[in-house]
Symmetry: none
Subunit: 210 residues, 4 copies
DNA sequence: GATTAAACGAGACGGTACGTCGGGTCTTATT
DNA sequence: AATAAGACCCGACGTACCGTCTCGTTTAATC
């Protein structure tokens, strides 16, 4: 186990990091990516810029941290009803994406911009470490969803002739594709279609062998 | 229709635009997005910044133009063998994405960055007009691919109980998802898996009713 | 003669430089060296920071330019009365120094600080080019004063057994010494003492041979 | 008188102050003023910044302390030969100044920067207490030199019609002037000229009345 | 051929934000 | 109570790049 290094010097202000993240998230969601400046975040958080930079060496790092924070606490249930569980999961994913997509925009309902989502992707693309980091975040969350599929496959609720990882990509991929590329809406009806498409050929979800 | 104003004054240098695009593309592919500054592009193209801005009002516009240029001439064939045609199409898409993903990087084969792809998405997200523009480019190309699916469906080579647009999303979405989000490789084996997944349940592609 | 290079590109705004210098001088004399920030100067001058930095690459460079500006237009007269002329000259020098010494200070009459004078010296010490520059400014002005002494020497109004350059140092050196080192006042009585000391042994200034 | 509080707690590390001064001096003389940051000094001295600030409240205070340290032990002799004594004294002053002027510079013999000397003056100008302090140091040393002149005057080795304080300024002032302002060298020949200038009109130093 | 209108090269300009540096203060645990 | 360590606040610095502007110069089309 890792030996906890003896605390030397003044310890970091645990609250400062929290306040920074909150300020950044608020600015991001309210005013959008462009409006988010480091100085402003530091101001809002009541923190010196140096304190911020000590934790996140770059604006991109900060942004990604904010997003990672927003990915937490997404509970995934395995009720045995694979279709219901998937619907639930995809709705959570879509909600998160839609929230970020619309960050900083008024009420213009017809907007098709990828908004903050694209900026995050770009940020991760610019820094290798951020890529690894955010992929880890996603991997952790995805692992649970993939587990869902795997368990469904085990009980025969899915066709067994396919890789659950690929199946997962085909469930989630279209959402990102629409958000980031085509700009088409990602709403509940669309999610149902996606699930239909992915599960087709599967036996009925509630199939309990007699 | 817009009356073409009678040509007065010095005509635009037809070659300038071309040289700008080339310079931009080279910088983008060789040195990566970060190295591409407007001043640098103008320099490389041997052109004044004014000349550049007269054609593209924004750096983002220029970038998107470069990418649109790279999307040209993707022939799509309908041989009747839907699996083969899809494979062909997806490989072209994947090749384009992989090229952009690796722009500006040496030979570090293990790179998982989304590279330029993400920057394009971000650029499109920042300007509504660019979004529309690039979506039009994609739509045009996609229309052909969707036509492929539709004709296959008509001849019964696909299950008819699903929307070909959704099916298309499930074919292409995963590619973008991997490129932009998970960073996983998008290679030929993966494409085969995707196609398998999407076509499963379909009758054999060459199914000729006895 | 130097061929005037053909003007290419937008010419520099002659007024901008002037406004910057004025703003800098005002800030310097009113608020003192510490209060003078580049951002503030640019603001006051109604100019972008880049415009300022295009002219003076460093805060130190700007400050020195300000001082050089203040050294202009110091008329030196040669009336034939060497004592009177010297008095006049030294008073001008002393006035300039005393003004800079007191820059940014209220009315605390007992102040002995070298104030801005020392900061200038330090700035010149930090950058070789500034040293050369400011020495050139001083040399130009000093040349006139030394000319004064030389002409007096020629007409026999001074002892001829000494180097006028050294004599000059002994006139001016004490002023700087007091300002920069001992902090003692440099007022009119002191100037008279200095001149007395330097001219002692000389024949009466108005000595016109019969 | 201030009651010395009974010693409680850990006593001050007597060596720390010494190590700090040495580190500061070394940095100053070797790398120049710019390279001297408080953090660096503390590092080099193997001391925490708190320890340093407990002794000197400001970087400027530390610098001045370093210089004061270097001014120690300048013996002044009164041999009765005023010219010889003055020469000796001025050489010591000049040596000190030249050492500081060249601090942090390689072997570029043609350098005319005032170097650290100007920084000291600036430091003293920024803090009233430092001004007083350093003036006291100088005053103590100068008093001896002025005593030299006074005793020479008493024995009639100097003209009596002038203030020895002013005479002193005219001896020392030029050195500082050259160092801080004109950048000209302050070498032995120059010192001789200065002394000649100041003593001219005086009777020969060894003049023993017949 | 003179005029004219727009494109062009060059580079200054306004503006905004970034990330860095250094000074000096504070908070822990340790001595 | 001093120390080591290092986090913290603050303020300014100099840089980078964007997109605009202002010159003087060139290039056709028009008069």
């Amino acid at each position: 186990m890792p030996e906890r290094a003896p605390s030397r010097g003044r310890p970091r202000d645990i609250d400062a990091g929290r306040r920074i993240l909150i300020a950044a998230r608020d600015l991001l969601l309210v005013d959008g990516y462009a409006a988010l400046s480091i100085d402003e975040v530091a101001d809002q958080a009541g923190v010196a810029k140096t304190t911020l930079y000590r934790r996140w060496p770059t604006k991109d790092h900060l942004i990604v941290a904010v997003v990672a924070l927003m990915q937490d606490d997404v509970p995934i249930l395995d009720t045995g009803d694979i279709r219901a569980d998937l619907t639930d999961y995809l709705r959570q994913v879509a909600d998160g994406l839609n929230t970020m997509r619309r960050a900083g925009l008024p009420e213009s309902a017809d907007d098709r911009s990828a908004g903050v989502v694209a900026e995050i992707a770009a940020a991760a693309a610019r820094h290798a470490d951020l890529g690894t980091l955010i992929r880890a975040v996603f991997a952790r969350r995805n692992a649970m969803a993939i587990g869902l599929l795997a368990s469904a496959a085990r009980r025969g609720a899915l066709r067994t002739d396919l890789d659950v990882a690929v199946l997962f990509d085909q469930l989630v991929g279209p959402l990102y594709y629409r958000i980031l590329v085509t700009g088409e809406p990602v709403d509940h009806p669309y999610l149902d279609l996606i699930i239909d498409g992915a599960l087709r050929g599967a036996r009925p979800s509630h199939a309990h062998p007699a």
